[in-house]
Amino acid sequence: MIRLEDVTKVYEGGVVAVRDISLDIQRGEFVFLVGPSGSGKSTLIRLMLRQEPVTRGTIWVAGKDITKLPAWKVPYLRRSIGTVFQDFKLLPNKTVFENVAFALEVLGRPRSVIRPHVTQVLELVGLADKADRYPRQLSGGEQQRVSIARAFVNRPPILLADEPTGNLDPATSVGIMRLLDRINRTGTTVVMATHDHAIVDAMQRRVVALSEGRILRDDATGRYEAVLRGAPAPTEKGAEEQA
């Protein structure tokens, strides 16, 4: 579904965020990208969305080389990828319903189609009764569920999540992970960047560990920390928690 081949990203000013990464993500997989801040997780997500151009290498999404995509085709790429971010990225002047509906308006769907779809997905995330609220009137967990509803409403084949639980307390995070898991079970490929140990360990899914822009480890059903002897030193965050 997503394939990276020798991808390198150097930001202006010479900061190397990603070095020669190759990665293959199959249809329907649930993959965690883990690692400390600055390890390149977010950059990988941004590259897959074409929010940044790659410096070298190739990225295929759904069989298409997106590094050669002309700018006017980028919106089409993004319509096939749902996105969830740490800061929710909801439109502040739109209600919950309108925020979710926007993803379908962009596709030019008629209102008669939009209404039932939005209502259905709001029920899925448990916010049907708050459709007319504005984002500022919701809790963090609720806002994140709206953003998941928006990401999922047009049933995209791929969902990218960058630290979706970063702003939420553990109990709320569990709810969000259940939702993402449910979405994954419908066949959607989910890639989630996180540094939340508990979540990664609980989910028992594929784990790609990054450090300084390189892949350290790629375990089919992994934990946040390497359990084998001789594995790389614990990450910064891990060290803190162990202390």
Partner: protein, 305 residues
């Protein structure tokens, strides 16, 4: 079709939900265009008044009596028709000897002794000539002097020259003021709308993230700018029109100065100002957006090394 309806609805909803920012933008358009339109009206008043000052008799040609080798009255009237046909001449008024005496008596009504000493037969008949363009008086005076039937030609030459210069300067100043205010209006409007979009740049990037194309994002913003520009311009035209109507009523008691501006002037410039406001709104939106659209695009250049 449903998409267009959505974009229009989107613009209207945004206008309502951003009421404060929208009010600010409309006020900026309103105030700057009112100043520019006011300057234009002022200039029009100057033009009307300087034109009015130029009306009236510019050249007087006194005629010889028939006894002194002049034409008889029929001949004088025939010559008048000839002069009236000149391109430079707007109108000619014939004042015969009797009328000249009557005029003289009125002029010196408070000095009867002067009137008594003057014999009506001494006062010559004359043509009172109004020109189409006062700058042409020299030529007309020259041609009149060459006529054998003409006794003497008087013109208000120096005054005409001065008035003509004054009119030009005043009109130039008025037009310059309108132009400067007009240019500041465009900059102010474009900048205000740009700032309003700056406040919503995060929205633009979110829309791009969800897969909205640039035009899908642009159209509501353009419509918002258009409506703000039209609203502000409409208010300014209305305000200046009302002010001008009041000025006309107030000024009707003041002699010599004219305060009436034709409805045609308001219609013509009003439409132009509406277009102006609308254009400034649209251009402001486009300029304000272009940067954030590009920023959120993350690499219009694929595969850059």
């Amino acid at each position: 079709m449903s998409r267009l309806a959505f974009l229009v609805r989107e613009a209207l909803v945004n206008l309502r939900r951003n009421a404060l920012v929208v009010t600010g933008a409309v006020l900026a358009v309103f105030i700057s265009l009112s100043l520019a339109f006011g300057a234009l009206v002022l200039n029009e008043l100057l033009r009307i008044n300087t034109l009015a000052w130029q009306e009236g008799t510019h050249v007087v040609a006194f005629l010889k009596d028939p006894a002194e080798g002049g034409l008889d009255q029929a001949g004088q009237l025939a010559l008048m028709a000839e002069i009236e046909a000149w391109d430079e001449v707007r109108s000619v008024r014939y004042v015969d000897k009797a009328q000249a005496y009557e005029e003289f008596r009125q002029l010196f009504a408070d000095r009867p002794e002067l009137i008594e000493t003057v014999n009506p037969a001494v006062l010559p008949a004359s043509y009172r000539i109004e020109l189409t363009d006062i700058d042409l008086y020299r030529d007309v005076v020259f041609r009149l002097r060459a006529m054998p039937a003409v006794l003497e030609v008087r013109s208000f030459g120096e005054q005409i020259d001065q008035l003509s210069t004054l009119s030009t300067v005043l009109n130039f100043l008025g037009l310059g003021l309108a132009l400067v205010l007009g240019v500041s209006a465009v900059i102010l409007i474009a900048n205000t709308i740009r700032m309003a979009i700056y406040a919503r740049r995060e929205e633009v990037s979110i829309m791009k993230l969800v897969g909205a194309s640039n035009w899908f994002i642009r159209v509501p913003f353009l419509l918002e700018g258009l409506i703000e520009g039209l609203l502000g311009a409409g208010l300014s035209v209305l305000t200046v029109w009302i002010a001008a109507q009041n000025l006309r009523t107030l000024g009707s008691s003041i002699p010599l100065i004219r305060f009436t501006i034709s409805d045609q002037f308001f219609l013509r410039w009003g439409v132009l100002f509406l277009l102006f406001g609308a254009t400034a709104g649209v251009v402001g939106s486009l300029l304000g957006l272009s940067r954030y659209l590009r920023e959120a695009d993350g690499g219009a250049k694929p595969g850059t090394v």
